[in-house]
């Protein structure tokens, strides 16, 4: 914890939701041993990331790290299994003493302009939350052009000025509320019925994953992730999240 800063309980609050699922920890993914990233300390940062699986979900990634005790970074992602058309849950949290910058979204795994049923089911139903958080101080478009290109019509992003301590929890609310909606979708989800839709979902998931894996940290951390964490830890965190 930084001097005088009471960091937000991001991981605890998100875990409280995720723990309602019957989750199992994943220790290895695509040939990568994830143990080194469960808890780590480098010259500039310390933190930890974990991956889980559960019914209908390929991977849940969640974790945080503190950079020089001045910035608290947190991330949570949920990739559904390939045979479900569920969106990809993504949450990014960058907390400083005076500002919290964040993004939370349900990234569509189909073209939600064309697929109206999908849009109504997974995006329009979350619109009341999107509208509610429009009044959050510092609301703004996601700054990264690359990430904004992947986002749904209901993404919420902001740079919330911390003028009083209650603002930290106010900024956290979109993350937990979007996550609750996502978990409800998860409970009700059924496998994709048609081959054409399965093919479409597979193609878009692959594209989203590729972009997120190769560009996410470059975009949100201005290319500094490698120098802070080292290439190995960076790759493992990316593997856990995407």
């Amino acid at each position: 914890m930084g001097e005088g800063i009471k960091w937000s309980p991001y991981v605890e609050e998100m875990r409280e939701q995720i723990d309602q699922l019957k989750i199992s920890e994943i220790k290895e993914w695509e040939g990568h041993d994830l143990t080194p990233v469960l808890e780590f300390t480098t010259s500039q940062a310390h933190g930890g990331f974990k991956a889980y699986c559960t019914a209908k979900v390929e991977k849940i990634g969640i974790g945080n790290f503190y950079l020089n005790e001045k910035v608290h970074w947190c991330f949570c992602t949920i990739f559904p299994r390939e045979d479900y058309d569920l969106p990809i849950f993504i949450s990014r949290w960058e907390e400083g003493e005076k500002e919290i910058s964040f993004l939370v979204d349900l990234m569509p795994t189909v073209d939600s302009l064309i697929d109206e049923d999908y849009r109504k089911r997974y995006l329009e139903s979350v619109q009341p939350l999107w509208e509610r958080y429009a009044s959050l101080p510092g609301i703004c478009p996601e700054e990264s052009d690359v990430i904004r290109s992947l986002c749904s019509i209901i993404y919420t992003a902001a740079k919330v000025p911390i003028e009083k301590e209650g603002m930290r929890l106010a900024a956290l609310a979109p993350h937990t509320e979007y996550l609750k909606s996502y978990l409800n979708f998860l409970r009700e989800a059924n496998p994709i019925g048609s081959d054409a839709k399965r093919k479409e979902v597979k193609r878009k998931r692959r594209a989203l994953r590729e972009t997120l894996r190769t560009k996410f940290f470059k975009e949100v951390m201005k290319d500094s992730m490698g120098s802070i964490m080292g290439e190995n830890l960076t790759e493992l965190i990316s593997t856990i999240l995407f």
Binding site: M107, P108, D111, S112, L113, I114, E116, R119, L123, E124, Q127, E131, A134, L136, P137, G138, I139, C140, P141, D145, V146, R148, S149, L150, C151, I153, I154, P161, R203, K204, A207, L208, T211
Partner: protein, 255 residues
């Protein structure tokens, strides 16, 4: 908040065409028939409630353009509903340049964007080719007062009630409500700058060769056109002004 009287409102088409000379060096020719409809009734119209013009064009000797429409609808000398639309023909995957500029005494409601004709999360190269050239302009103009208010940048939130409309937007859409007179002029500048980028892309555009990609692109384009023509609440106003029969022609030219 500055109120702008009707007589002082911006002459949208005149400013764009004559002051900014947007199409200088390009010969626009009237598009008399669009999708089987005679467009001449829109070139100049006057009804008890509204007057104005929508002028659909193509570019002389060019096969890349489906239509370029510039128009104004003056509603009871109280408000102006202005539009500029540039849509490429089905052989080209250029985004749709779409601009609505709706001016009333208290504010201008504005949307200007390059609406992508493919799913950009899947086709990353499309963003690089057609949308990224807007990045700098987007960052410059999104600070116009009204788009950003009390530290909250509400760009890309104007279409709150209409998710189908937000689906059509690119990551570089400028939309919002602008009040002050000088800020309204900055909006016009943004509209023209975006249009100039689109025209540069049009000059360089090559026909789509991949039949599967083309099919996907056309489906998305037609879906967007269907949404705006069938669902845009502005269409209801046009129905009241022009009647059921003619309103289809107007909405098809505006989008």
């Amino acid at each position: 908040m500055a109120r702008v009287e009707y007589k002082d409102m911006i002459d949208f088409a005149k400013v764009i065409l004559e002051e900014f000379k947007l199409f200088e060096g390009i010969e626009l020719v009237p598009l008399e028939i669009y999708q089987g409809m005679d467009t001449k009734p829109t070139w100049e119209f006057k009804t008890p409630m509204a007057s104005g013009f929508y002028k659909p064009c193509t570019i002389k000797g060019d096969s890349k353009i489906e239509k370029i429409t510039i128009g104004e609808l003056h509603y009871m000398r109280r408000a102006k509903y202005c539009a500029l639309n540039m849509t490429a023909s089905d052989d080209y995957d250029l985004p749709i340049y779409a601009c609505e500029f709706d001016e009333s005494a208290p504010r201008v409601g504005i949307t200007v964007d390059f609406m992508p004709t493919v799913d950009i999360a899947v086709h990353e190269e499309y963003v690089e080719k057609y949308l990224a050239p807007l990045a700098e302009l987007w960052r410059k103009y999104r600070t116009i007062p009204g788009f950003t208010k009390e530290g909250r940048c509400l760009v890309q939130r104007r279409y709150g009630p209409w998710p189908w409309a937000r689906e059509t937007l690119s990551p570089y859409c400028l939309d919002g409500r602008v009040e002050e007179r000088e800020d309204r002029s900055k909006v016009i500048e943004a509209i023209v700058e975006y249009a100039r980028v689109w025209l540069e892309l049009w000059e360089k555009a090559e026909p789509v060769k991949d039949p599967e990609y083309k099919q996907e692109m056309i489906m998305r384009k037609k879906t967007m056109q269907r949404y705006y023509r069938d669902k845009d609440p502005g269409g209801e106003v046009l129905k009241k002004i022009f009647g059921e029969g003619k309103h289809r022609l107007f909405v098809s030219l505006v989008f």
